[in-house]
């Protein structure tokens, strides 16, 4: 039996389209695969010291050095762990304070000047996030010396980006009606913000700050790698003295601290929302 095609030209053009699409897909995927292969060759294949690895056993031996705990380190762990926690808390609070003016500048509907200060606010948000916390810490260590203070400043600077961006977006999305009401009763700029805007953005901002605090515990744990206090410093010292059991102890402490932060922030977030 023959199937007769009623509209041979139409079918031909559809087939042509189908062929073109398939070619396009093949080219795109082929390009992606080539790109990844190029990356792999540039990094893993050419940039690894293959002779130093020394086979499968060498790798396993390297890793297995960490599989024991140096319990003698325990008394020395307590204070840095506390310090790490405190750095995260103070850094977050300080970050909130820095975020307020930045959010104010960078929210299109409340910024004092759309042409100069709005772009400045947006720039500060990007700056805060694009510089890594370790880099911030390096800058502050050279500015204020070793210890927890540069760590706190670094965490604060790094927190500004996210907190102020979310806050600015919350301000941009507020309902204008309460603001109108406060203006109508003769309220000044501060009262408009405090009564008209703040109650509306408060839950979003608080949830963001809790989230940021959770992340800051992680950040605070590595600050010591560049001399900015906390568990990282202890980690660095254990690593330098090839005390791999001590390194594992510090990692365990960090892990416990992070789990604790996770649990606390879970309940805090529940309380807020």
């Amino acid at each position: 039996m023959f199937l007769t095609i009623q509209n041979p030209q139409g079918v031909a053009s559809q087939l042509d389209l189908r062929r073109k699409r398939l070619t396009k897909m093949t080219l795109i995927w082929g390009g992606i695969i080539l790109f990844i292969a190029w990356c792999v060759s540039g990094t893993i294949i050419q940039d690894t010291d293959w002779s130093r690895i020394g086979g499968r056993n060498g790798v396993l031996a390297g890793i297995s050095r960490y599989f024991w705990l140096d319990l003698n380190l325990l008394p020395e762990l307590i204070i840095p762990t506390l310090e790490t926690f405190m750095m995260a808390c103070v850094g977050t609070v300080l970050g909130c304070f820095f975020s307020l003016p930045v959010a104010w500048l960078g929210a299109a509907n409340v910024t004092p000047s759309k042409t100069i200060l709005y772009p400045l606010g947006r720039f500060l948000m990007v700056l805060s996030r694009s510089v890594h916390e370790i880099v911030w810490a390096l800058i502050f260590v050279s500015a204020v010396g070793l210890g927890a203070l540069p760590g706190i400043l670094a965490i604060a600077m790094r927190s500004v980006g996210f907190i102020s961006k979310i806050t600015a977006e919350a301000i941009e999305n507020i309902d204008a009606k309460p603001v109108e009401a406060i203006r109508a009763v003769g309220g000044n700029q501060f009262q408009v913000m405090y009564y008209g805007i703040l109650p509306q953005i408060y839950p979003v901002v608080l949830a963001t700050v809790i989230f940021e605090w959770d992340i800051n515990i992680r950040r605070s744990a590595v600050m010591g790698l560049v001399g900015a206090g906390g568990l990282g410093l202890l980690f660095f010292r254990q690593m330098n003295s090839f005390n791999y059991g001590g390194v594992s102890m510090v990692i365990l402490a960090i892990l416990l601290l992070i789990v604790l932060g996770e649990v606390i922030s879970h309940y805090l977030r529940k309380a807020v929302i």
Binding site: K177, A181, R183, V185, G186, N188, Y195, G196
Partner: protein, 250 residues
């Protein structure tokens, strides 16, 4: 006595945008309960917001309580706004605050920043708030959050807030459009009674002609940015209404 006098008022929101008000003249006397009626888009809300400069007038003169509104600087404007109570279509309450704090926010124009920060209002303001909350029938809901109330109750909070200002003029922007007919009548009645009690004139946007006739002594009819009618309620004829609400033929 004239409380508010408006002459040649024009408003456009942006330089290239359409003219919303195209030269409006009217007066509000101290015993007026004045309705502004007209179809949607006639410029009623813009008109009422131009009176206390929530919307900036483009041209014309507004004399409110012996001040030329357009000439005031920011501080003088805030001081003048304290004397003008405003009630809104969507209530414009602060949803996450309590009924009490919402009512007290009517006193913000008289409250310093430190006191506002801690919501520490003077005792006489608190007493007055309690009195007005009782007057509008919300004594049992003082500590509830504003968003827990029904529409009618929320508008009563809005009324109490406006009264806290001890206003010399009330601006009502469609105070009943978000409410059902029965509650609308109650709310309008309450506003009228209180306005009479306190001897405060009111300027009221309203699209429900029936309500306007029932509660207001004077009516202004607007259409497309122009005033089409201005007179005592009894003088409003059906032919006037037809003209105000006539469909625009393009």
């Amino acid at each position: 006595m004239t409380v508010l006098s408006v002459t040649g008022l024009k408003v456009r929101y942006s330089a290239k945008g359409p003219e919303i008000l195209k030269g409006i003249d009217f007066e509000v006397k101290s015993d007026d309960f004045l309705a502004i009626i007209g179809p949607s888009g006639a410029g009623k809300s813009t008109l009422i917001r131009a009176v206390n400069r929530l919307v900036e007038p483009t041209a014309g003169e507004i004399i409110l309580l012996d001040h030329n509104v357009c000439d005031l600087n920011a501080k003088q404007l805030r001081e003048l706004r304290r004397n003008v109570g405003m009630i809104f279509q969507e209530f414009n309450l602060i949803n996450r605050m309590s009924v009490m704090d919402n009512v007290l926010s009517g006193r913000l124009g008289y409250t310093g920043n430190m006191r506002s920060l801690f919501r520490m209002f003077p005792k006489e303001d608190v007493d007055q708030a309690l009195y007005y909350l009782d007057r509008v029938g919300l004594s049992d809901h003082i500590n509830k959050r504003a968003d827990e109330l029904s529409g009618g109750q929320r508008q009563r909070v809005g009324i109490a807030r406006a009264l806290m200002q001890r206003p010399k003029l009330l601006l009502l922007d469609e105070p009943t459009s978000a409410l059902d007919p029965k509650i609308s009548r109650e709310v309008m009645g309450l506003i009228r009674d209180i306005a009479r009690e306190l001897k405060v004139p009111a300027l009221c946007n309203i699209h429900d002609v029936q309500l306007a006739k029932e509660f207001c002594n004077r009516i202004i009819g607007m259409q497309d940015g122009y005033k089409k009618f201005d007179g005592a309620t009894e003088t409003l004829k059906d032919s006037d209404l037809e003209e105000i609400y006539a469909m625009e033929v393009l």
